[in-house]
Symmetry: C2
Subunit: 224 residues, 2 copies
C-alpha cells in the first residue's frame, strides 16, 4: 500500500483491516450507510453533508436509491467525490478506568464516486435487491416495481475505489495497576433484535407470517 | 425558517422535525455519530471524510474525543465546516409492493463546527460523561482519568448551528390497488438488545454485576 493513502487507518492500527472479504462482510451485515459529500452553492463555500441511506452491496459497488426529485441524489449522481461509512456496535466495553471504556464495533470507510443508473431493467433488479436486503426472500413475496415507480426512482451505483475496515472485538484492555481496583470489568454484548411482527390493519386477523419473516425469527432464536 | 436553509428537509417533508426537543431526544438515544468534513492536502482537491465516533450531547453541542495524535481530530478541531448524522433503525416496513418497502428510523443531521477544549477539568468531566453515556451510573464505578490520560485525550466541542430530524414510524403505506394482493404486509420492530455480560477473565469467579449493568438489564426486561 502506498503510504498515507486516504483510506489508510493511522490511529489504533491494530484494529485496521484492508482485506476485501472483511470489508464486504461488514457491508453485508450493515443496514445504513452514512454518505458524505460537499454541496456547493453560488453564495456559500462548499458545505459537507452527511446523509443516512439504505444500501445494497453489489460486487465492489454500493447501490443507493431515492427519489428523482432529490437534489442530494442528483448531486451525488453527478460523480462528486464521496465517502461512505457503515458502522455497527457489538458491545459495551466496561473497564476499571474511565479512559479504557470503549465499544466493540465493526466499521468500514469507503471512498469513491456514484453514478446514476438509468436502465429500467437494472433499476427493477436493484429494487428487488433492496427488498431482499431488508429480509432475504421478501422480494418474491411482494409485487415488483411497475413502470411509474421505476421512473420515480433514482438509482445510483457507488463504485468503491478505496476501502478500509476497523474492528474492535474481544475483551477489556486495562492498565496493570488498575487490576487491583474494586471495580467490575467486562463486556456487555449488544445486537439488533426483532420484536413480534405487527400485521398491517388491512390484513385478515390471524393471517400467517410469510416465510421470510419466519426464517428471520427462527434464525434469531437459534442465535439466542 | 428561511427557505432552503442547509438543514431544511426537502424530501418526504412529512417526516421532518425541527423542534429542539426532538433533535435532542434522538441524539440522547443514539450511540454513534458519523462526522463528515473535507480534508485538503497540497496535492489533491478537498476529499470528504466520514468518520464514526462516540459522542455525548451537552446542551446544544456534541462532545467528541479521540487521541491527540489523530490528524482527523486535529483537522476537525481547527473549526472546519462539518456535518454530523446520527441514525437509528426501529423496524422493517414490509409492504405488498417492492416500491413501498422501507424502514422505520430516527435520524438527525447537524451542521456546525468543532473546537478543541484544552481545560483539564473540562476534559475530565467530559470523559466521565462519555462513560455514563455508555451506561448511566458507570462513571462512579470506575477510576477517573489521571493527568497522563487527560493529556493524551483530545476533546472537541461541536456546536450545533443548524439541525433537523427525520422520523419514519408507524405502519405500511400501500397503493390502494395493492391491498387485494395475496401478500403479507406489516412491520417488524427492531431494537438494540444486550446479551449476557461477560466478566473479564481477571475478575474473580462469581463476582456480582455492578449496579449500572443490573439497571440496564432490568430496564431491558421491563420493556420486553
Amino acid at each position: 500500500m502506498r503510504p498515507h493513502a486516504r483510506h489508510e487507518v493511522r490511529r489504533t492500527k491494530a484494529r485496521a483491516r484492508y482485506e476485501r472479504e472483511t470489508v464486504h462482510a461488514i457491508l453485508d451485515a450493515g443496514r445504513i450507510a452514512h454518505i458524505g459529500f460537499a454541496v456547493e452553492t453560488p453564495s456559500i463555500p462548499p458545505q459537507p453533508f452527511v446523509i443516512p441511506m439504505l444500501y445494497v452491496r453489489h460486487g465492489d459497488a454500493l447501490l443507493l436509491h431515492g427519489s428523482i426529485a432529490s437534489r442530494l441524489m442528483k448531486r451525488l449522481g453527478d460523480g462528486v467525490a464521496a465517502c461512505v461509512s457503515v458502522t455497527m456496535v457489538d458491545g459495551l466495553v466496561l473497564a476499571r478506568s474511565h479512559f479504557h471504556h470503549s465499544v466493540n464495533y465493526r466499521s468500514v470507510v469507503l471512498f469513491g464516486r456514484a453514478r446514476a443508473v438509468d436502465d429500467t431493467a437494472e433499476k427493477a433488479a436493484a429494487l428487488a435487491c433492496f427488498v431482499d436486503a431488508l429480509i432475504p426472500g421478501r422480494a418474491a413475496e411482494s409485487r415488483p416495481a411497475d413502470r411509474n415507480e421505476l421512473a420515480a426512482t433514482m438509482l445510483l451505483r457507488f463504485e468503491i475505489e478505496d476501502a478500509s475496515a476497523k474492528v474492535r472485538d474481544g475483551g477489556v484492555k486495562e492498565d496493570p495497576a488498575d487490576l487491583a481496583l474494586p471495580y467490575w470489568a467486562g463486556v456487555v454484548p449488544q445486537s439488533m433484535r426483532c420484536d413480534s411482527p405487527l400485521a398491517d390493519p388491512s390484513m385478515e386477523a390471524g393471517a400467517a407470517l410469510p416465510p421470510s419473516v419466519l426464517r428471520l425469527l427462527s434464525a434469531q432464536e437459534a442465535r439466542a
